[in-house]
Symmetry: C2
DNA sequence: AATACTCAGCGAAACGATTAGCTGGAATAT
DNA sequence: ATATTCCAGCTAATCGTTTCGCTGAGTATT
């Protein structure tokens, strides 16, 4: 690989001049510039980004750390983030913490070593898991989807309580009273808020959830499947379920079909944060959706801003509002 | 950020010693080593990967360039690749060429500038699109899924002809004779081979495909939807379709449901390279599958080997064999 | 004509790590 | 006692680029 020195020697100028030409950072006479350019062309020279980054103290890399790459929701996040990140002139390094705090820890130290300029993080640990980091030691970070009880970080999240309320109210409107839930882990604010929203909505109508109708999942298909199987083979099973995310809703569907139950005839299902069940397949989930692309764009806007302007601006917490999307996974209660 | 010099000064040793400690590259007496380690800890020092990479002439980065991040097939590839890559000690930089040769070109030049150590590439252009690259200028590259007519590159692909043959034979066995296809673009070997395999299988049984029953898609849901709509509203529509990939099969499903047609009662569908339709949703696609994880692992094995041993070993072309997975998207022909 | 400015381009330091080659002292061999 | 070997650690060069500060020639100002 040709270096800037090769170009300088060949064009009989200094490396400073070559640098000025490729960066347009100082005036170079047309004649010299042309000579330099032609040598660059002849040698097939391309400046080493590695050396540049080293010198400039940045990497043009943004890390995206998601909780579960096998979850279509995060796949879509990767898709959206890649587009935005490259539009900002960065490249996207993708990591999968697989919902494991320890893995996440390793990833974060790797991210730091790589010198990523910023991190978009879906945190998987609970509040205590994160040491307070001094900013001089960690690259700018924006939390996505889940938040930690910190007031000094940028976050982009969903109004989870409202999402659960929307979903639950819809079930209540259909006449359901025995409403259960496959909930998310409660060490995450996402799990707590979605559950709280559901309870909220029910008690606002004087309905009380039965504790045994509320089971905890881990956001994944497999566990939701087994938990739902357990829950639904009981004789006093709920007539409707609020499932805390889309992937788990698929697990529930599978459990239903294994148990010979039909959706929506036997059980109504609503979920949040859906894998928009690809058109044509039945049943289509009724779900709350949030504007993933806008959320991602906003998160990266905050991140890039932070990268470029440091800590001058106070942290922001942007909350997006979900909306209910009707499918055909719910029916009126029949009791 | 603390540097190696800060550590050296604080521990009253030379930077060489610090380097020896963190890399275990030379003997350091227990006393000194302990002193250095404690200073490292106190300062929260982590070696700058950027400087390291610069010095060592590598980046510990592997680029993954896929054709369409919105396609669940490639999402799964990202998932599998991330796991393997990080197990090898690299990090994964993800790019989306979005099936656009021009975008791919920009991406590749970016990859080169970033100094990625290797590239796993799903090529989107036709053969002519790729200049012959001299290896000294390009990082090691493994082609994935699609091949180019080159004998000097590592490739990991599927036996596409066989996949199409499997799928088509299944339809023929069910008695279908009016078999159509939503095919893939023919500038890709994937498209050509899958179509050829289908024609093969049919003519082996003395059946001829009607040209108007064969339409070209672009691997995406949307286009498959419109093309299928067109095709299926004709009065002499086919009784079965071979769809060249999973995402397009979903588009076809949507078209069916829009047209009031049922699958499999009215139209049977088989596809290749499926988005394994999440359990519980109906109908489950009948499809040929290929071992994505093994393929990905193999591709990265080749790549890492190439990175570590250069061009000493001749290029390898690994071809995987698909298998037929039965769902319930096919029914016997009724004519 | 002397002084001050401008300008194009150059020289060399710096970024943070690795590493070849060196050094001075202790241990061992003769 | 002298020579040899070995050891632990250090010095300094190096990777490819950017950039600060300088220079010497040309131009403008008085």
């Amino acid at each position: 690989m040709a270096t800037i020195k090769d170009v300088a020697r060949e064009a009989e100028v200094s490396t400073a001049t070559v640098s000025a030409v490729i960066n347009d950072s100082a005036y170079v006479s047309p004649a010299l510039r042309a000579r330099v350019l032609s040598v660059i062309d002849a040698l097939g020279y391309a400046p080493s980004q590695v050396a540049r980054n080293f010198k400039r103290g940045r990497s043009q890399l943004i890390a995206l750390v998601v909780a579960d790459l096998a979850n279509p929701f995060y796949s879509r996040l990767v898709w959206a983030a890649e587009a935005d990140v490259s539009a900002w002139g960065y490249s996207l390094v993708v990591f999968n913490s697989d919902e494991k705090p320890d893995t996440e820890k390793q990833i974060l130290s790797r991210v730091r070593m790589l010198g990523c300029d910023g991190v978009l993080l879906v945190p998987v640990g609970d509040e205590e898991h994160y040491p307070v980091r001094d900013t001089r030691r960690w690259p700018p970070t924006v939390l996505y989807g889940r938040s930690l009880n910190r007031d000094n970080m940028d976050t982009v999240t969903l109004d989870n309580r409202e999402a659960a309320r929307l979903a639950t109210n819809y079930l209540l409107d259909l006449g359901h009273r025995r409403i259960g839930s496959i909930a998310a882990p409660t060490h995450l604010n996402t799990g707590r808020d979605r559950l709280a929203g559901m309870i909220d909505a029910m008690s606002a109508r004087g309905v009380t959830a039965r504790p045994e109708h509320i089971r905890s999942g881990d956001f994944r298909e497999q566990m939701a499947y087994s938990v739902a199987r357990e829950l639904l083979k009981e004789s006093d099973r709920p007539s409707a379920l609020y499932v805390a995310n889309g992937l788990m809703a698929l697990g529930v569907m599978r459990a239903l079909s294994d148990l010979g139950l039909r959706c929506p005839e036997d059980i109504s299902i609503v979920s949040t944060d859906t894998v928009s069940g690809p058109g044509g397949l039945r049943p289509q989930l009724t779900r709350t959706e949030h504007p993933l692309e806008e959320m991602t764009y906003e998160a990266l806007r905050l991140l890039v801003d932070r990268i470029q302007h440091g800590n001058s601006r106070p942290p922001r917490n942007v909350v997006f509002t979900p909306s209910l999307v009707l499918g055909d996974s719910c029916a009126p209660a029949t009791e």
